[in-house]
Each structure stands twice: as C-alpha cells, then as structure tokens.
Amino acid sequence: MEASVEGRKTPLYEEHLRCAGKMVEFGGYILPVQYPTGVIKEHMAVRTACGLFDVSHMGEVLVQGPDALRNLNHLLTNEYGGMKDGKARYSPMCMENGGTVDDLIVYKVHDDDYFVVVNAANKDKDFAWMSEHCFGDCTMTDVSASYGQIALQGPAAEKILLKLAKEEDIPKGYYSALFDRMVGGIKCMVSRTGYTGEDGFEFYMAAEEAPALWRMLLEAGEPEGLIPCGLGARDTLRLEASMPLYGHELSEEISPIAAGLGNFVKTAKEEFIGKEALARELSNEGGRKRVGLKVTGKGIIREHQEVMVGEKLVGMTTSGTHCPYLGYPIAMAMLDQEFTPIGTQVEAVVRGRRVAAEVVKLPFYHR
C-alpha cells in the first residue's frame, strides 16, 4: 500500500514503517495519519501522558544580517523588536489586502540572526514571498531540507526529556528555545512549543540524526506512556485547543483579524505589509468572525459546511471533528458578526441534514 502514496519522505520515514504507521500524503510529504493504536488513543496519550510526532515536513528559513529585524517587521504583522535571545513569537504573514500568506513562528537566535518555521504546504510560496520582499543587508535561506523536526507533547514531556538531557539544556518558559544543546548525545535546538495545547518540546536537528533521536525518545518515554502519534491526532489536538490551521481558519481569503488573531496584528508598528487593510478591518464592525461551535444535535460537523439560523445562511465551518478528550464533536466556523455571541443557536448542513450546534467560548480545551 505504501508504494501508492506519492510525496517526499521525511528523515523518519523508515521509523514510521517500523511502527506500522498508516502512510498518507500531506503537504507534499509522506507521513503517518495514525499508527495501529488509532487516533483516539494517540490523542488521549498526549492529553494524559505523552505523544511523539514527526514534524519534519515543516519548513525552516534563516533570516540573517543587520537588517534582519527590519525585514521581519516589514513582512510580519507581529512586533519583533525588544525580543530576547531564545524567545519565540508567532505571527501571521499577510498580503497588502490583508489576506494571509501563512502563519509562522520566529525564533530569535541572537541579534541579526532569526530562525523562522513555516507550514509545509506553504514553504515554497513563503520563501518566494519573503525573498521577493527582502531589502537592505539581509539574507533569507531556505534550510528546510537539512533539518529534521520531532515534537514531544504532553504532561510527561519534561520528565521524559530529563532522561536524555541536562536540566540546563531544557528551556523553562513556554515559547522559548535553547540552541546547540545535547539531547541523547545529538545536537539539537530545543524549543518549548507545540501544536497540541499541552506542555511539550520541539527538537530541530540535522536530518540524518533524526531517526536516532526518535528511537531514544520512544524508548525513554515508553515507561511514561509515550506513544507515536500521527497527523490525525495532531489535527484533533490542535482543533480541541482551538489553534488555527492554515487552509482552514486562515487563508489568502481569511485575514488574521477575521480569524480572531488580532492580538498578533500590531497596527501601532510604523509599517508592515497589509497594515492599511488590517487597520481598516479592525475599525470596521462588518464581516465574518471565527467562532467555536459545540455540537448539541446528532452528528459530526466537518469543514466547508453551511451554517444556518432558520433559513438564513450565516456562515461556513472551517474545521470540525469529534474531540476525543472533550468527548463531543466541535467545529470552528466563520459567522456573520450578529451571530457570534456565545450561546447563539445555529445549525450546520451536514450532507443535507441539519445538525444543531451552539456558539461557545474558545478555546474548547485549555490545560
């Protein structure tokens, strides 16, 4: 069956086959959607113990030079001034009209040296966009192919990592990272970040070192309940934690303001690409906004389903699934503003059938 899946192999491809992963194509890569344990057990392992993910498909771009900071502040909606070395900061990257090119994380290695992590499916588009807008004394280098990336996520993550790394090589604060540290004898960047809503770490290492670290983490974590987890659980976990996924909650048509990510749009900055359009959108009460929906009827709401109030079409869903930890189905949707207050009763059209849901507060899950 594997032979029929087209795409690039990550450095951990052979490890997934050893763990009997069910391989699918995602963002141009061949990755496991799940292992024989199944999505629900993988999801629950991350909420209650720990899970291990191959995220080597993510793209990495180095932004370096005396004008690196000015370039980031021009390209991105968030503010990158005043960051300490080793801090990480999330941002949307927008077009002039406010539509979103991608969302990404920037790490400050030190002055004039930043490490940017972008979505797999967008990395060529992102790199072209960034290079096209590059100015002054600054270089942008796509180093995606030389990195492997592994995520260790869950309440037991720190305990497991302590078996392989010294305490001083483990970042203390959420959204911070340490560079050139040793984990199980392998040189890594260790970041306290993730896409699951749990505490956890992401390790970046030379691609050829990834399999050895993967195996060491699996072995060290096994007594703590660690299991490998696939893309299926990655999606249900991020959805339960209400994190946006590019292509769903954000897109070239959905601005960060509409997606409810206004916190990451700093209109006080002197200038950045999309500032005018986003500032206008902020001051304007119209348009659709992202909400969370809890399914109160029978069924599961998925993405791209119409949301109705009576006979009026009031929006569209962007993601939806059954949430293993919460134990009920949820969805995210873009709704006309008058229907966004908490408690609003709506219906989604699921294959011709109406499924009742209620607007609830985001995030659905908070650790």
């Binding site: 799940q34 999505v39 629900i40 057990k41 299926g232 029978k298 599961i300 699934t321 293993p324 294959r351």
Partner: protein, 125 residues
C-alpha cells in the same frame, strides 16, 4: 482478520446475517472498521424506512472522515440498533455484534459473497 462463516458479505464491506429468508441484520466488516479507524458516530435510518440493495442507507464517522454504508438488501427497516449511538466504539471492538439495522420483507439482495470468497477478495485490495 475475522470473517465469520455464517455471514454473507458485500464488495463494499458490509455483512448480512439472515435470520430467515426475508429478515436479516446488517453491519460493517472487520476489514471496514480497520480501514476506517476509530469510529465515533453512526447516522442510521429510522424504523419503517425503505432500504434498497446497492444504495446508501447509513453513514459512519471516524475521527477523520465520513463514509457511506451501502445496503446489501432491499426491504424495510424493522429495528435500529440504538446502542451504536451510545457506544460507537462497538463497531471497532466487535464489528459482528454491532449490527446497524434489522431489515424485514427482503425482496432483493446485492451480490453477496461467502466468508471465504470475501476473505480472498480482501486479499486482493
């Protein structure tokens, strides 16, 4: 993989357990549940609904996706297994106990295979 001898099977991975010539219970096979992954919801017809061999009569939702379930027989829904609503995991854990509907007044069937035929068919997939 387990395919009980006393059942009949379809190419679309449903099983049929005939109780007499015109009454049968219908569910999805061990192969189907394994392919679909963790099942979390079954959208079932109602008592008295007509079902037609070869047509969709239900759908099942896994965490990732929705899939149609095709009726292997033509008849009338006599009883719906309400237990699946409370415990959809039964479809994964015990697929041959997790019947969806009991159909009466059966007048026609889809092309049905024996357990051995179905096992060989699954081998080719």
């Amino acid at each position: 993989m387990n395919f009980p001898q006393e059942l009949k099977y379809t190419k679309t991975h449903e099983w049929v357990r005939f109780e007499d010539d015109t009454t049968a219970c219908v569910g999805i096979t061990d192969y189907a549940q394994d392919q679909l992954g963790d099942l979390v919801f079954a959208n079932l017809p109602e008592e008295g609904d007509d079902v037609v061999a070869g047509d969709t009569f239900a759908d099942v939702e896994s965490v990732k996706a929705v899939s149609d379930v095709i009726s292997p027989v033509t008849g009338v829904v006599e009883e719906v297994n309400e237990e699946l609503a409370d415990n959809p995991a039964l479809m994964n854990e015990a697929p041959y106990e997790a019947w969806f509907v009991r159909v009466k007044e059966i007048t026609d069937t889809d092309e049905l295979m024996t357990a051995d035929e179905y096992a060989s068919y699954v081998e080719t997939l």
